[in-house]
C-alpha cells in the first residue's frame, strides 16, 4: 500500500497484469503471460518519464494498464492524483478519461479514415461537454494551431496527410480534452528522422505551456534520453532500473541496462563501440526464468541469481536498481 504524496501525479505500486493463455477444447486458461509483473514508480507533475526496453518487455502494457485500457489489473495499485484508478465507477472513470490521454505509435491506423480531422479532434470535446457550442469551433482552431495544423485542415480526411502531420492530429486529439497526463506510446517510431525532431519539439513545448506529465514509451534510447527527466528500464515485465536520466545514462548499474546502452548505434564514425553483445534472445514472458529473470543472458550471473529474485533497492539518491550485484 502506498500513501498519497501530492507532488506525484501518478503513483504505481507493484502493478501486475497477466494475460491468460487459452487452449484446449473449452478455451480454458492453460497458462499466463506475465506481461507486467510488479512495476513500481512515482511520477512527478510536469515531468516526463521514459520507459525503455526491448519488444515484449511489457512497456506498452504498463502504459495501457495505468490508463485502465486493458481490462482489470491483476494486482498492485495505480493512484492518479491520489485516487485508485481501478476503484472508480464507470461514470467517474469517464470523467477521468479527459485527464489522462494516450498517443499511439502508428498514426496511420489510429485515426478513423471516415471522419474529417475537425471531427476527430472535436468528437470527444463535444461528448464531454468541455466547451459551449458557440466556442466550439474557435476552441478546435486554437488546439490545432498549437499543434501546428491550419484551420483549413479541419475538413480534410486523414489520408490526405503525411505521417508527421497525422501524428500532430493525434496529439491535437489528446490535447483537446485538456489532459494532465499523456501516455506517449512510441509516438515517433513510425516517423522519419527529420520529422521525428519536429514532433519531439512539439511535445516538449506543449509540456512547458500546459504543465503536462508524460509517460514516454520508446525503444529509441537517444530519443528517450533527450525528452525524459527520469527513465525506467524494463525487462520481461519488471522495472530493472529506475532513476534520473543523467544517472541512468551516465552511470547505468544493472547489467541489462549496460548492455542495452552499449548496443545503441552512435551516429559518429570515430565513436568507439564497446558493445556488450548479449547472448540469446529475450525469454518468453509465459515461462520466465526463475530467480532474476535476466540471469539467462547476464554475464555476472551467480548461483543466487538463479534461485532468488532480487528486490528493488535505492543505490544512490533516487536511483533504484533490481540486482543482487548491489546488495550490501
Amino acid at each position: 500500500m502506498v500513501t498519497y504524496d501530492p507532488q506525484y501525479i501518478l503513483m504505481v505500486d507493484e502493478l501486475k497484469k497477466y494475460f491468460p493463455i487459452k487452449g484446449g477444447m473449452m478455451s480454458k486458461a492453460v497458462g499466463q503471460v506475465k506481461a507486467v509483473d510488479g512495476v513500481t514508480f512515482n511520477l512527478k507533475r510536469g515531468t516526463t518519464m521514459g520507459l525503455v526496453g526491448e519488444s515484449g518487455c511489457g512497456k506498452t502494457t504498463t502504459g495501457r494498464t495505468i490508463l485502465r485500457l486493458s481490462g482489470e489489473k491483476t494486482g498492485g495499485q495505480v493512484l492518479f492524483n491520489g485516487k485508485e484508478v481501478y476503484d472508480l465507477s464507470k461514470k467517474e472513470m469517464r470523467a477521468l478519461r479527459t485527464k489522462m490521454q494516450i498517443i499511439f505509435q502508428d498514426p496511420f491506423s489510429s485515426l478513423s479514415p471516415r471522419l474529417p480531422v475537425g471531427e476527430i479532434i472535436g468528437e470527444a470535446v463535444r461528448e464531454h461537454d468541455l466547451v459551449s457550442k458557440a466556442e466550439f469551433n474557435d476552441y478546435i482552431d486554437t488546439v490545432m494551431d498549437e499543434c501546428g495544423l491550419q484551420p483549413f485542415h479541419k475538413a480534410r480526411y486523414p489520408h490526405e496527410f503525411s505521417g508527421g502531420q497525422r501524428q500532430r492530429i493525434c496529439i491535437a486529439r489528446a490535447l483537446a480534452l485538456n489532459p494532465e497526463f499523456i501516455v506517449c506510446d512510441e509516438p515517433v517510431s513510425a516517423l522519419d528522422v527529420s520529422i521525428q525532431a519536429q514532433i519531439i519539439n512539439l511535445l516538449k513545448s506543449l509540456q512547458r505551456q500546459r504543465n503536462l506529465t508524460y509517460l514516454f514509451i520508446s525503444h529509441d534510447l537517444s530519443v528517450v534520453e533527450h525528452i525524459s527527466d527520469v527513465v525506467g528500464v524494463m525487462y520481461l515485465g519488471n522495472l530493472v532500473e529506475y532513476g534520473r536520466t543523467e544517472d541512468i545514462f551516465r552511470n547505468p548499474l544493472h547489467p541489462y541496462t549496460k548492455a542495452l546502452f552499449s548496443a545503441i548505434p552512435i551516429p559518429d564514425p570515430k565513436a568507439k563501440m564497446n558493445r556488450i553483445v548479449l547472448e540469446g534472445t529475450i525469454p518468453s514472458p509465459a515461462n520466465p526464468p526463475s530467480g532474476c529473470k535476466f540471469h539467462t543472458r547476464c554475464a555476472n550471473c551467480t548461483q543466487r541469481c538463479k534461485e532468488e529474485a532480487p528486490v528493488q533497492r535505492e543505490v544512490e539518491d533516487g536511483h533504484y536498481v533490481v540486482c543482487h550485484l548491489y546488495d550490501k
Binding site: A197, H219, E246, P267, R275
Partner: protein, 335 residues
C-alpha cells in the same frame, strides 16, 4: 573497364507507372562499389534507396521498370540480361536480405528446405552435400543446434534467428555482393547489435562487398567505407563516413545530422528539417530538397544542382556547395 569495381551503377532511372502518373522513384543514381567494401545508402522513406537496391536485383513490383541507365557487374550490363541470366545472377553473384524477417521466409517450408533450394539451384552439389552446406552455413551465422533447426519452420524461430537464417541463405552460394535492405530495422537494439556484429565478421571472413540500405545514421557510422545520402530519388552527397559525419556538404545531410538527438545528454532543442518529404509524383524542377532547405537560392528552384567535387571522391549535389567552391577558386586565382 570495370576491373576496379565489382558493381557500377550509371545514371540509373527507375519509375513506377501508376494510375496517377509516372513516379520517378530513382532519378539518376550513379555509384561504384569496389570488391570487399561496404557501401551505405541512407535516406528517408521515399528517397528511393530500396528501389535502387531492387533495381540492381531486378525484383521491382510489376508496375516498376528501369527506364534508363546501366548496372555493370564486372563490366557486364545486367539490365540487358534475359530472365535466365538474371536467375544465375541472383543468389550466385549478388543476393539480398530484406527488412522484415517475419515475412521474407516462406512459412510452409522448413528452414533447411529453403536454404538448400538456393544451393541446389546454383551449384552442382547433390542433396546430401547441399544439406551439409546448409548446416555449415547455419553454424557460420551463429544459429545454435543447426541439425535441429533445419527441420524447423520459420515460426519456430525468433526475429533475430530468422534474420540469421536470411543471411545464411543469402550467403550460401558465396555471392560477391550482398545487399542488405534495412536488415536490422525490425529488430530490437540488443539483437541489432548481434546482427551488425555478425555481418561485419562475415564480411571480413568471406570478403564480399555489402550494400547497406538504411535510414539509421547510427547503424552505418561505424560500419561503412563509403556512404551515399539519397533524397527524392537522387544522390545528394557521397563520401567516406568521416566526410559525411564531420564535413557534410549538402544541406540535407546537415539537416539530418542536426535532427538526431545527441547521445551526450544535451537537452537543447532539436533542429528539425521543416516541411514534409517530397511527393515523387510531383517533383520540383530544380533541387528536390529546395522546398525544405533554409539556404535555398533562386537557382535551386529552377536548375538541378551539379555534382560538386571535393577532395577524396567526396561530392555533393548542391548549389550552395557549388557557389562556395566557385568563390574559393575565384579568391585563389585573384591572389
Amino acid at each position: 573497364m570495370g576491373e576496379e569495381y565489382i558493381l557500377q551503377v550509371k545514371d540509373l532511372h527507375t519509375s513506377f507507372f501508376t494510375d496517377s502518373g509516372e513516379v520517378k522513384a530513382v532519378n539518376g543514381v550513379t555509384f561504384n562499389l569496389a570488391p570487399g567494401k561496404i557501401l551505405g545508402i541512407v535516406g528517408e522513406s521515399g528517397s528511393g534507396k530500396s528501389v535502387t537496391a531492387y533495381s540492381i536485383m531486378q525484383i521491382l513490383a510489376s508496375t516498376g521498370r528501369i527506364v534508363s541507365g546501366e548496372v555493370l557487374y564486372k563490366g557486364q550490363d545486367i539490365t540487358k540480361f534475359d530472365k535466365k541470366q538474371m536467375k544465375g545472377f541472383r543468389g550466385k553473384c549478388c543476393s539480398i536480405i530484406f527488412q522484415d524477417p517475419m515475412t521474407s521466409l516462406n512459412p510452409v517450408f522448413t528452414i533447411g528446405n529453403q536454404l538448400m533450394e538456393a544451393i541446389l539451384l546454383h551449384t552442382d552439389k547433390d542433396k546430401k552435400q547441399a544439406k551439409d552446406r546448409a548446416i555449415e552455413m547455419l553454424e557460420l551465422v551463429g544459429v545454435n543446434e543447426p541439425q535441429k533447426r533445419i527441420k524447423q519452420y520459420p515460426h519456430e524461430l525468433s526475429g533475430g534467428m530468422r534474420q540469421r537464417v536470411m543471411i545464411a541463405m543469402a550467403l550460401a552460394c558465396e555471392p560477391d555482393i550482398l545487399i542488405a535492405d534495412e536488415p536490422t530495422t525490425a529488430l530490437d537494439v540488443t539483437i541489432q547489435a548481434q546482427i551488425l556484429e555478425l555481418m561485419q565478421e562475415l564480411q571480413k571472413k568471406l570478403g564480399m562487398a555489402i550494400i547497406m540500405v538504411t535510414h539509421d545514421l547510427g547503424v552505418i557510422a561505424d560500419m561503412c567505407d563509403e556512404i551515399i545520402v539519397m533524397y527524392g530519388g537522387r544522390v545528394c552527397e557521397r563520401g567516406t563516413a568521416e566526410d559525411i559525419f564531420y564535413r557534410p556538404a549538402h544541406e540535407y545531410t546537415k539537416g539530418l545530422l542536426r535532427s538526431i538527438p545527441k547521445a551526450d545528454g544535451s537537452k537543447e532543442r532539436l533542429v528539425p528539417i521543416a516541411g514534409t518529404p517530397i511527393n515523387l509524383l510531383n517533383m520540383p524542377k530544380g533541387c528536390a530538397f529546395c522546398a525544405r532547405c533554409d539556404e535555398a537560392m533562386k537557382i535551386c528552384l529552377t536548375e538541378v544542382p551539379p555534382q560538386v567535387q571535393m577532395p577524396d571522391g567526396h561530392y555533393s549535389c548542391c548549389w550552395l556547395a557549388y557557389k562556395q567552391l566557385y568563390e574559393a577558386q575565384k579568391g585563389e586565382s585573384a591572389r
